[in-house]
Symmetry: C2
Subunit: 248 residues, 2 copies
């Protein structure tokens, strides 16, 4: 029995602007927005948030707010005036949010998620749930695309770096293979950066962009592996927890 036949394909898409080059149907997509949306969503789910509804526009989010929803909105890295909070993961570490539904709009992540509605399944990944998301992907059977949210359709190095870290797990530990140049590049970047990821990212544009906003604590948290055991899943309307089967 050859294992080659059963190997699953892994691809990385560096920004939503490059999605037209990918075949999404029948694939599993992992949406990645390390600074900070997917990290924040995973954190909220870990703290017991029941459901997160991503919306594209501030106007849509306001409409939900007027209907009584807890609403979070981020633009340019800051909380939008009139909303309960933005996308700082620390805002989602709140026992009062347990069992609640939150409506969320962010610069990049919600747009990315809404563009892959037609994927077979869509999960959310970040360093804080890297082991959980790798194991979830291993339990599935479809090919996988790691979709970096980027920054306004531009390549973001922290998302590529995380895609590389996840690729490392899938290619070396699980039964994945790749012939995708973006995956090879992301993997190379991770291998070059892994001994000191915060130092490597000090040069990145997004850190500089967030630097003046006094977000050092957020950034440090966003780069910590395995702070959460949950894998959020987007079903085309809202994000809920994947039901993990307990084995053994």
């Amino acid at each position: 029995m050859s294992t080659i036949e059963t190997q699953r394909k892994l691809e990385v898409c560096f920004t939503p602007a490059l999605l037209p080059n990918y075949e999404i149907d029948g694939k599993i997509v992992v949406v990645i927005d390390v600074f900070r949306a997917t990290t924040a969503i995973i954190t909220g789910m870990q703290y017991g948030v029941k459901e997160i509804i991503p919306v594209k526009d501030i106007e849509d989010a306001f409409e939900y707010k007027h209907r009584g929803f807890i609403t979070a909105a981020e633009r340019k890295g800051e909380v939008v005036e009139g909303f309960d909070f933005g996308n700082s993961p620390f805002a989602f570490m709140d026992e009062n949010l347990r069992g609640e539904t939150i409506v969320l709009t962010t610069t990049n992540c919600t747009t990315a998620m809404l563009q892959v509605k037609h994927a077979n399944k869509t999960f959310l990944g970040a360093f804080i749930n890297i082991t959980a998301v790798a194991e979830q992907l291993n339990r599935e059977s479809d090919d996988v695309i790691l979709l970096c949210a980027g920054w306004k359709n531009k390549f973001s190095i922290e998302d590529a770096l995380f895609a590389g870290a996840l690729a490392e797990r899938l290619l070396n530990k699980f039964n994945f293979t790749t012939d995708c140049d973006s995956t090879i590049a992301a993997h190379t970047i991770y291998l070059a950066a892994k001994t000191d990821i915060p130092a490597y990212l000090k040069q990145s544009s997004h850190r500089k962009r967030l630097g003046h906003l006094n977000l050092e604590r957020d950034i440090e948290y966003c780069l910590k592996k395995d702070q959460a055991t949950v894998v959020p899943q987007f079903d085309g309307y809202s994000i809920k927890l994947v039901e993990v089967e307990v084995v053994g």
Copy 2:
């Protein structure tokens, strides 16, 4: 006098599909298509070709052919039937081409060039003229964008790798700076691959794509540094040699 003030900005664009994210006006663009179009064009210029006219479609190329032009056309890595040659650099090493004008259409490079017509200047780069193009850029004064032609709007690792090699020269040897994540990523990939670039690229999709076409000799040549001393420049209509001032 601070050198910071006079530092020139360097950016990398990984595929023409991402060009809408870049401000091209007033910039110098270096178009990169290592396998094999820019390598072939540089080779032709080194061998004395006077002018190369890039055209987008096979139909346009045929029209030139019927008017008596020497025409080269590549699709899927192969010479298109009815044309004199494709984009193998070896086809351009022909003394009979000295002083001639060639019309050329290729899968990626011509499309990329035609998309940056509004740049201040557009040069062509590849490993075979890396020193010449770096020195040419150093003689100029505008900010620089390295545009990877990629493969049908997808990220290609060999183009990113060359962009990283050129970035290394510009950032370390000349007075350039960057806050562009793509530049940082390309530079990281080059540093990881530089001790054995052919081995690193053995895994790339484009090598696999070209592999069955028996292009090992082309690929080996495309990865050799400094086989040429010329820098082709695209003026929006055709490619000619940059007039290099001889100093001293």
